[in-house]
Amino acid sequence: MHTIIADNLSKVYQVQQKRQGLAGSLKDLFLPKYQDKTAVNNVSFVIDEGELVGFIGPNGAGKTTSLKMLSGLLHPSSGVVKVLGFDPWHRDYDFLRSISLVMGQKNQLWWDLPAIESFNLARDIYGIKDVEYKKNLSSLVEMLEIGDALNVQVRKLSLGQRMKAELVAALIHSPKILFLDEPTIGLDVLMQQAVRNFIKDYNASHDGAIILTSHYMEDVKELCKRVIIINEGNIIYDGLLSEVITKFSSHKIIEIILENGEIKTQKVLRAKVPEVAFSVNIKEIAIEEVIRSVFVGK
C-alpha cells in the first residue's frame, strides 16, 4: 500500500474581489463580489515508504495548499487523500501522532518561554514516554547542535537557532510523515546546509516519507531524487529530478575550449548534438534555468 495517496485533489478558495477606488470600496461594502480561485486543480500522485519528494513551483502554485490538505488542515474541495490509510481531514489522534507539518515561515514554539518548555509540552501532548523522550531529545539536539539554546527564551534566539528548535519540537514524537514547507527559508548558507544534512539523516534513519517544498534549488538537488513540479495548481511533472532536464530542455550546451584558454559555448538542439565529440564538453543547462523557463511557459 502507498504511504500517501492523492486522487484528483482540488482546493477552491473564495476570494473577495476588491473594486477600485473609494466608490468601489463602498460598493464592496454592500455587494461584495466573490470569485473562485483554484489553488490546486485535480492533482493526483502517490508517495511510498522511504521517499523524500520535493514539491517545486513558483509562489502561489499550490504547493503549500497541497501540504495543508495532506496534513488535514484544509478540507479539500474535491478528491480523495489518504495518508497512512487515514483521511487527514478527520484529524484522528493516531494520524496526528504520525505526522508533522513544519512551516518555515511561522513558529509553533511558545514565544515567551524557553524552547525546552515547548518540547516538554509536546512530550505531554503526544504522550511520549520519558525514556523515549530523553532519547529523541538528545539525538535531535545533537544532530542540530542546539544544546546551548534550550534554556533561552525563544524570542531571543536567532532565526537559525529558532528554525532548528522548531524542527526539534516538530520531530520530538518521531513522526513517520514529515511535511516540510520551506524549511530553509531565510537561513544563511551554513545553516541551510545544516538543516539539509539533518533532513537527509532523518530520512535515512526513520521509516516513512518526507515531502518538502522549497524555493532553493540546492535543497531539492541535494535531498530529493523525485520531484513533483506544480504550476498554477496543476502537476506538470512527476518523476526523477535527473530526468527533468531531458524532459523540459530541448538543448544541450557545447563548450569549446580554445587554445588560448578562452571558452566558447553554444546551445545546440538535443537531437543535433553529435554522439561522440572529441575534446568537447557537453553540459546540461542548469536545472534552475530549465525550471524557470518551464514557468515562463516556453
Binding site: 478558495y13 495543508k68 496526528l96 511561522k106 509553533q108 515567551d112 518561554l113 518548555e117 501532548i125 504522550g127
Partner: protein, 262 residues
C-alpha cells in the same frame, strides 16, 4: 489528561513573563469595582434607597459581580478570532488535542489566575471601602450557586467560540466583539442589578442568555431570587442551546479554515 494539565501550566507560566502587564490588569480590575462604587455612593451615599436597593445592598451586589466577573468572564477564548485569522489555530489543530478542550483548559488557567488575585484584592477592597458583605451559609444555596456559576462559565465559553468563529467568514472580528462587550456590560447586570428595571424589561432580559452570566448566579448566592428554579432551568436550556450552536457553527467554519499566514 496529562496533556491538558501541561497546557494549563504553560498558559499560566506565560502570564508570569509579563509582570507589568499582569500588574496593570489587576489595577484595571480594581477600577472596574471603583467606578460603579463612586457612582452609587454619589447617588445613595447620603441615605435612602432606589428601586428597593439602599447603599449597603447595592455595594454587596457590586462587590459580588466584581468577584463573579473575573471567574465567569476570565477567558482566553476571546482571542479565537485572532487565532483563526492569523493562522495560529493551525498549531493546536495539528496536535492530538481536542480543540474545545484545549480552549477550555486555557480558560480555566485564566480563571485560576484571576481567582488567586481576587484572594489578595478582595480583602484589600474590603478593608478600604468596607462594603457590607453577605456570607451565604446555607449549603443548598451554595450548591445551587456553584451549579449556576459553572453553567455561567460554560455559557460565556460558548459565546466566545461563537463570536470568535466569525473569523472563519470575516476578518472583522473586533467590531462584533466590541458590540458584545457593550451588551455584556449592562445585560449581564454588571453595572446595576437588573431588578431595578421595569418588570417587563426584566422579563425580556431574562429570556436572553446574558443575565445568566452574572445577575442570576449572584441572586442565587444572595438567596434573593424568587424564581430560582425557573431561572436555573432557563440557564441550563441556554447552556445546551449555546453548546449545540457552537458545535454547529464550528463544524461549518472549520471547513472554511485556510490556515493563512502559516
Amino acid at each position: 489528561m496529562k496533556k491538558y494539565i501541561s497546557i494549563f501550566s504553560i498558559t499560566l507560566q506565560e502570564y508570569f513573563t509579563y509582570r507589568l502587564n499582569m500588574l496593570m490588569w489587576r489595577i484595571r480590575q480594581i477600577f472596574v469595582f471603583l467606578i460603579p462604587f463612586f457612582i452609587w455612593r454619589a447617588v445613595l451615599g447620603g441615605g435612602g434607597d432606589l428601586y428597593g436597593y439602599d447603599f449597603a445592598a447595592i455595594m454587596t451586589y457590586l462587590f459580588g459581580t466584581t468577584i463573579l466577573r473575573s471567574l465567569v468572564m476570565g477567558s482566553r477564548t476571546v482571542d479565537l478570532g485572532w487565532m483563526i485569522n492569523s493562522g495560529y489555530l493551525t498549531i493546536p489543530l495539528m496536535r492530538p488535542l481536542g480543540i474545545f478542550r484545549f480552549l477550555l483548559t486555557r480558560d480555566l488557567a485564566d480563571k485560576l489566575f484571576n481567582l488567586s488575585f481576587i484572594l489578595l484584592e478582595v480583602p484589600l477592597i474590603f478593608l478600604i471601602f468596607k462594603p457590607p458583605v453577605f456570607l451565604q451559609s446555607n449549603p443548598s444555596a451554595i450548591l445551587l450557586f456553584v451549579i449556576s456559576l459553572l453553567l455561567a462559565a460554560l455559557m460565556y465559553f460558548f459565546i466566545n467560540i461563537i463570536f470568535g468563529s466569525i473569523g472563519f467568514w470575516s476578518r472583522d472580528v473586533w467590531a462584533p466583539r466590541f458590540l458584545l462587550m457593550v451588551i455584556l456590560e449592562f445585560a449581564t447586570g454588571a453595572m446595576f442589578p437588573l431588578d431595578m428595571l421595569p418588570t417587563i424589561w426584566q422579563n425580556i432580559m431574562l429570556m436572553t442568555p446574558f443575565p445568566y452570566l452574572l445577575y442570576v448566579p449572584l441572586k442565587i448566592y444572595l438567596a434573593s431570587d424568587p424564581n430560582l428554579y425557573l431561572h436555573l432551568g432557563i440557564q441550563l436550556v441556554w447552556t445546551i442551546i449555546l453548546f449545540l450552536f457552537t458545535r454547529f457553527i464550528w463544524q461549518k467554519g472549520i471547513l472554511r479554515y485556510e490556515a493563512e499566514g502559516r
